[in-house]
Symmetry: C2
Subunit: 245 residues, 2 copies
């Protein structure tokens, strides 16, 4: 049967989600523990890539397995042997033709900025610390220009390989909770580094370097150099992936 896992992880100590040569990844740990548990060679397939240091609350992975164990119980069984920075929060059976990347989805990312004089050591791996005051209302105003279907070339890492740079954003905004500024964005899909480049640009709106309306102009330029820098990885969390079945 095909099983879908919803996985939370702290990306601090991993080289991202996808298997690669540079170091240990989330997929590798899942493959290792699933293969061990079921005594079969199991390879998970992820719904989206996260970079080194990026976190997830609701990442999705799919794998095939021969077992009589109810799919719902796999999460509990797997958590026993997983390291405590990876937790499977849900497991269920999906149809055999379900593929996590080729299905219609809605993904939500959140990015956390700690806007304070001094960093907070308890939040150091989960926020981007920014000292100068950021105007979250202006950042929110700028974020609204992202909603809709746009060509996001300006907000994609140079050299991104993709058929099209057009992506649809369903919702985006910025809210403040004390010293914490949270950027949230929900869309059908994202380009490589897109959320982090958007945040780097929104920070330049928040600190007064750019006007909120510049977001529209940056989109129209279709040029990476028109946007701001790529914000650091540790503030980014893949919050949720929803499948429309």
């Amino acid at each position: 049967m095909r099983v879908m896992l919803t996985v939370s992880y702290d990306g601090t100590n991993y080289c991202g989600s996808q298997v690669q040569e540079n170091g240990i990844t989330i997929e590798e740990v899942l493959n290792r523990e699933l293969s061990r548990f079921f005594d079969q060679n199991i390879k998970v397939s992820g719904a989206s890539r996260t970079d080194s240091g990026v976190h997830a609350i609701g990442a999705v992975f799919v794998f095939d397995v021969e077992t009589k164990m109810p799919a719902e119980k796999i999460s509990y069984a797997l958590n026993v042997s997983l390291p405590d920075d990876i937790v499977v929060i849900h497991s269920k059976e999906v149809s055999s033709d379900f593929h996590p990347r080729f299905q219609k989805t809605s993904k939500t990312y959140e990015y956390f900025i700690l806007n304070s004089d001094f960093p907070n050591p308890l939040l150091r791996n989960y926020t981007y610390h920014y000292r100068k005051f950021l105007d979250d209302k202006k950042m929110n105003e700028a974020a609204k220009f992202l909603i809709g279907e746009h060509d996001f070339t300006s907000f994609a890492a140079i050299g991104s390989q993709t058929n099209t740079f057009v992506r649809e954003i369903f919702d985006a905004g910025v809210r403040r909770d004390g010293d914490l500024i949270v950027f949230y964005i929900t869309g059908a899909g994202f380009l490589y580094n897109m959320v982090r480049i958007i945040v780097g640009t929104l920070v330049e709106v928040g600190n007064g370097k750019r006007k909120p309306s510049e977001m529209k102009e940056i989109l129209e330029k279709k040029d990476r150099s028109a946007a701001g820098p790529t914000a650091p990885a540790q503030g980014l969390v893949l919050r949720e992936i929803t499948y429309k079945e």
Copy 2:
């Protein structure tokens, strides 16, 4: 001059705050970096002990130094060389007879419980994960019995060395924010493990094992075995120390 530092730290990788033989502590790191920076043998004196794994947002340390540097600038200078899990958020000169432990103070601790089906890997070092539903309203009701001057023998670790087990609590309570339950307590002083034993007992109120009014009876018994277990270290944060000058 005598300098007071307000320090935030992530206690995960330290054997508590006070210098001891078992491993590296917050005081040791402060002593090392201050001695190096001022090229003098400097020893800090802490306002309160925190155990291994316990965190602080506003811990207070005092030290004497010969320098012309304005005390206010020491925080910035020190943060350059401190590891990123220790941050000095404030520094100021205090009178030469100021001692952080013998002054009248008010200390606030917070304890964070994640009350959810599955643990959250991003909060694993900063919360106590508790699966079964906790009734925060009942926990809050129980916490109110702590307010005032009481003999806290029942809530002190066995073998605690102290002249008196009487402590004054100015405020205490429990609030819920989604899956997160926060216990807060402010008092003139605390016994060894007191906050963690209180939390262990409040959890037994929250899960229905005890009634809120039992807190009063436990206090009256003056017997550690009347109270609940000691809650784990990682949920505890020393929030603030206020000096009444």
